[in-house]
Amino acid sequence: MLMALPAVGLTSAANAAGKPTYTIGYEGPLSGGYQQLGLNMVFAVQLAIQQANRNSKLPFKLKLATFDDQGSSTLAPAQAQAAIQNHSLVAMIGPAFSGATEAAEPYYSAAHMATVSPSATAAALAKGTMNNFMRVVAGDDVQGAADANFLVKTHGLKSLVVINNGSFYGAGLASVVAKQAKKDGASVTTYTYPTTGSCGGTASVSEYTSAATQIVASNPAGLFYGGYYCGLGLLLGALSSAGYKGTIMSDDGSWTTQLIAGTTPASAANGVYVSEAGGGNANLTGKLAAEYKALSHFTANGATYAAQAYDATNMVIQALRDVKRSPKVTVLRKQLIVQLHRMTFKGVTGVIKFQGNGDLSRSSFVDFGKVDASTNTIASVGHS
């Protein structure tokens, strides 16, 4: 699971100058059913490090080490333990998934290692003050409420089925959606369909066939799915076969064109709304987008959380420049936590300043997208 990438973008002159080398980690899904979300981010991290290494005035060299947790809370602790054992590793970008973050945080916290997540949105993760966990996205309390308002207030849907995939992330987000939708005046029925064997879980895919029958029988005006694209793709296929015609929405875990590739038939993904808690300028654009594509072969527009990963990495690099870097890694890690909480950083997604609990200080808005299976794209349809 541990995949240490070589130093990126180092010049021989920089090496010869004898600058110290620091490693920045990335933890997220780099294999398994959710790897697309992790790959979106890791290339953005790599891009930020490459760019920093090109700067001859940078007083240190940077390396990237990646830790593949497959988005799993079971695998995450081992990855965290491996990361903190790396004595050149000063801060972690990630973990990417909320459940994995919840499972790994005790280890990072004990090692006083800053974890700046581009994408872990579960509301319950932000707790305490001046802790090591920070994120450059809004929490699910913001995203879930915005999604509910989008369905009930913007689209006028009065009956909703709210589904979650049984994960820490999906269940937390779906419960916020259900609560807000009820507050908005909709009738809400909730179901849990656990992650299936086709998506890295152990539940049977056939659960969706029966579930779709049940959903169609109650014929809700709208359906919200709290979870990831792999499970949603399978559910969409079953709903399509069962003849469901209502409005379908999901979250940032489904904002990827892999949703279309994994839906059988692909047309069943057409018209599905998705949301992203990134807030504002959530994509890498212009020259950055071109560099990102050259590195990853992904189009930046649609590479969910790439921009946030880019910002998180640059923020860590800036913090590393700002502090009086202790030669002791345990002290340096603590210095970075303090500095990251102190600083205000202007990134491509906006101005980033953390509250004591690690949440963004600014109020974030949630972007909404609509899937177009015929063009294999997700088009922006506004924000909260």
Binding site: S31, G32, G33, Q35, Q36, G166, Y191, T192, Y193, P194, T196, G197, S198, C199, G200, T202, A203, S204, V205, S206, E207, T209, S210, A211, T213, Q214, V216, A217, C230, G233, L234, G237, A238, S240, S241, A242, G243, Q258, I260, A261, G262, T263, T264, P265, A266
Partner: protein, 320 residues
């Protein structure tokens, strides 16, 4: 007590309203379980072991048909006879790939052990090793995404049963599953090769003395089970797409179905599959989908408590 009665009444009401729809979906799933279960049952019949790599035979069939259909169809959706032809191609490719993979597996993972009179535990470890090797290889080579199978039709309700729509996809599963199972049943019951399989299942040593080629018979048995498993992978992939881990849960369910029906019994495997598919589908009227698999395995335990040899019992070596 009143609240509980009200709770039950509500769920029975759901079952009454949705019974036929849930039944249709359950039967379709049951046919897939049954087809895969046949592979377990055949191998158990001749070798008295559970082929835990059968899940990867299923996956191999799914991927082979996926690649061929993608090459044949591109992005077009055929209609009429072309649809029938493409489905047939998927079945033939899935079945052939499953049969080849199973034969290769028998050669590499089992035959050597058999010749060395290895203990049963060695077969088990060999099967698990082969399973891990195959699905990780598939993940590495084919990617770890769930890929959508090209659709040879636009799925739609063909007719209704008591108001429940019967989708074209379900008809394809049931038709393919029923035909393949009937052919296999007759093959094992009425052909010379089938008699060989039954003879080996009953007493391999005596069968050998009577002139039955044991190696060949076992290889054929693997191939037959693999063919049905491969077709199962194709049919499953038509509805759920293909991914390197796709075999794990369906194969576990199929193994359950084989035990439920009576391991070693061809008809039992199909009946076990159908019962499992239908019961788990109907259970959703009573419990959240989170308990879907709990229900399936609770049924298995209950049946085995009453009939330890499964519903039809073990009928090793008989004409099923």
């Amino acid at each position: 007590m009143g609240a509980f009665a009200h709770f039950l009444a509500g769920h029975f009401d759901t079952l009454r309203l949705e019974f036929w729809s849930l039944l249709v979906g359950g039967v379709a799933n049951g046919f897939i379980y049954g087809m895969v279960a046949v592979g377990y049952t055949l191998v158990y019949g001749v070798l008295r072991l559970i082929n835990f790599a059968h899940s990867e035979i299923f996956m191999t069939g799914g991927f082979a048909s996926y690649f061929v259909l993608r090459a044949v169809m591109g992005t077009s959706v055929p209609s009429g006879w072309a649809t029938f032809g493409v489905i047939l191609v998927g079945i033939v490719v899935g079945g052939t790939a499953g049969a080849l993979a199973a034969t290769l597996l028998e050669r590499v993972a089992y035959r050597t052990l058999r010749r060395r009179n290895a203990p049963k535990l060695a077969y088990l470890i060999s099967a698990i090793g082969a399973s891990y090797f195959l699905f990780n290889l598939a993940g590495k080579e084919f990617g770890r995404y769930n890929e959508s199978m090209p659709q040879p039709y636009i799925n739609h309700p063909v007719f209704t049963i008591f108001g429940a729509p019967v989708q074209l996809y379900y008809l394809v599963i049931v038709a393919a599953g029923a035909v393949m199972w009937l052919v296999l049943d007759r093959f094992v019951a009425a052909t010379k090769l089938g008699r060989g399989i039954r003879a080996v299942a009953q007493d391999a040593e005596t069968a050998s003395l009577m002139g039955v080629n044991i190696d060949r018979t076992i290889a054929i048995t693997f191939a037959l089970g693999g063919a049905l498993g491969g077709v199962g992978g194709f049919l499953f992939g038509l509805g759920s797409g293909v991914v390197y881990t796709m075999g794990f849960v369906p194969a576990l369910k199929a193994f359950t179905a084989a035990v439920l029906g009576g391991i070693g019994n061809l008809r039992g495997a199909m009946i076990g599959g159908l019962i499992l598919g239908v019961v788990e589908s109907l259970s959703i009227a009573f419990v959240q989908a989170a308990y879907f698999d709990v229900v399936a395995f609770a049924i298995l335990v209950l049946v085995l408590l009453v009939r330890p040899t499964g519903i039809l019992g073990e009928r090793l070596g008989r004409s099923a």
